[in-house]
């Protein structure tokens, strides 16, 4: 099937300049300010007075070429053919003529493509591959994301939350996305050590590599079986060894599930970036619609909407009231799992007598 032709290599990506609409070329680097027109629509104004409108549409990231061609048609119809994508899987239509915005929004909405996700709204949920296409996934990505976004749909369409809300998901501890720094993050987790297929390890895996892959040093060579042993007390089920050696399977349908972290952010606004912190150690996998996960996230969103001050991101709200209060407000149990015992744990222990009591009731 393959013909012997070898095309040119190392040509690099297409030059972005050729993709830009004229109004951007004219105002490149000379934008003055922007304002929101309505949820999902931004207006940027240049020093020349030129205007650029952006219409943002949420997508499930997994797109068929049929849909992409339709997006191209829409871009031709309204935007002289110009569109872009964002790092959070949104599609943005760029147009200089403000009079076309409403018609564009209407056509997108009519076809089922939600316009929103700007300003103080729920941003599109960034996520990874999951059961569709990755080997180490402890839960599905597209399915969980679809279920959660269906439930929180209105928050994407409006922009009256206390602040922006970024939810992310990763389907295993590799955490491909910037999940560890999101307002709310849910992550696929395993809970049992890998099963060892000695034969497979002996024949297919490089023992030194496997030993080195384990962040906690749980893996030791087992020279007799030409395989390895795993120290149950040290293994924290990251699946890293499985990525290096397929004969150490970490898949466990009964016990795999999801953990939720909150309060992270990545921008430098006000306080600097923050990791998300563990609030719910385990929720079972419940395909197809993951009802417990959806309910847990709705609860987490609603308590923030209800209690945060205007302008407070999730973590800023918690910081103001304190983590101990947060667990009270969220009505979530605090367990041994919540206290860090991994690398760098000690600085997270409270080394002051200042705290709030939450057991008074």
């Amino acid at each position: 099937m393959t013909n012997p032709y070898y095309a040119k290599t190392d040509i690099g990506p297409p030059n972005f300049w050729n993709m830009l609409p004229q109004v951007i070329k004219d105002n490149y680097g000379n934008w003055l300010y922007h304002e929101k027109v309505k949820p999902g629509v931004l207006k940027h104004v240049g020093e020349t007075g030129d205007e650029l409108f952006t219409v943002r549409v949420g997508s499930p990231r997994l797109l068929s070429i049929e849909t992409l061609r339709w997006f191209a048609d829409i871009a031709d119809k309204y935007c002289d053919g110009h569109l872009r994508f964002t790092s959070r899987h949104n599609v943005e239509f760029l147009l200089a003529d403000g009079t076309k915005v409403d018609a564009l929004v209407d056509e997108l909405e009519a076809a089922g493509w939600p316009v929103g996700g700007t300003g103080k709204s729920l941003k599109n949920l960034i996520h990874t591959q999951g059961w569709i296409h990755c080997h180490s996934a402890a839960t599905d990505a597209s399915g969980t994301v679809k279920a959660v976004m269906d439930d929180l749909y209105d928050y994407f369409k409006k922009d009256d939350l206390p602040a922006k809300l970024k939810i992310s998901m990763a389907c295993c501890l590799n955490m491909c996305g910037a999940v560890h720094c999101s307002d709310i993050a849910f992550v696929g987790v395993h809970r049992k050590i890998p099963t060892i297929d000695d034969n497979g390890v002996a024949n297919g895996c490089e023992i030194p590599n496997v030993v080195a892959s384990c962040p906690t040093g749980a893996i030791r060579p087992n020279p007799k079986a030409k395989s390895v042993t795993i120290n149950e007390e040290k293994c924290m089920y990251c699946g890293n060894c499985y990525s290096v050696c397929p004969s150490l399977s970490i898949m466990d349908p009964e016990n795999d599930g999801i953990a939720i972290f909150v309060g992270g952010k990545v921008s430098n606004t006000r306080k600097g970036p923050e990791f998300s912190k563990l609030v719910i150690p385990f929720i079972p996998n419940e395909p197809p619609r993951w009802d417990s996960l959806v309910a847990a996230i709705r609860n987490l969103v609603e308590i923030w909407v209800k209690n945060a001050k205007k302008g407070e991101r999730y973590g800023e709200w918690i910081e103001r009231i304190g983590w101990e209060k947060f667990f009270e407000v969220a009505n979530l149990p605090f367990t041994d799992k919540h206290i860090d015992d991994f690398t760098f744990s000690v600085p997270t222990f409270r080394t002051t007598t200042q705290f709030k009591f939450t057991d008074k009731k």
């Binding site: 070898y6 290599t9 490089e206 590599n209 892959s213 290096v244």
Partner: protein, 68 residues
């Protein structure tokens, strides 16, 4: 550290990879006791010619193309 002409280096790399399933460029440079940058350059050239190929097993390696 040994200095090789490009022809020598090419031959040495082929000889080394002939003995191995796969290697990282660093291993090749250490085994040949030569500058890693030169090895990188030569490996890349040979990859473009289709003599070598890369594989990924937790990290990337090179190997002779079609060597099992």
């Amino acid at each position: 550290m040994a200095d090789f002409t490009p022809e020598e280096l090419r031959a040495k790399i082929l000889e080394y990879l002939g003995k191995k399933d796969k290697a990282k460029n660093r291993d090749i440079a250490t085994a040949l006791d030569t500058n890693k940058k030169e090895v990188d350059k030569m490996v890349n050239e040979m990859a473009k010619e289709g003599i070598l190929e890369f594989l990924y097993l937790g990290t990337s390696y090179v190997k002779l193309k079609d060597k099992e």
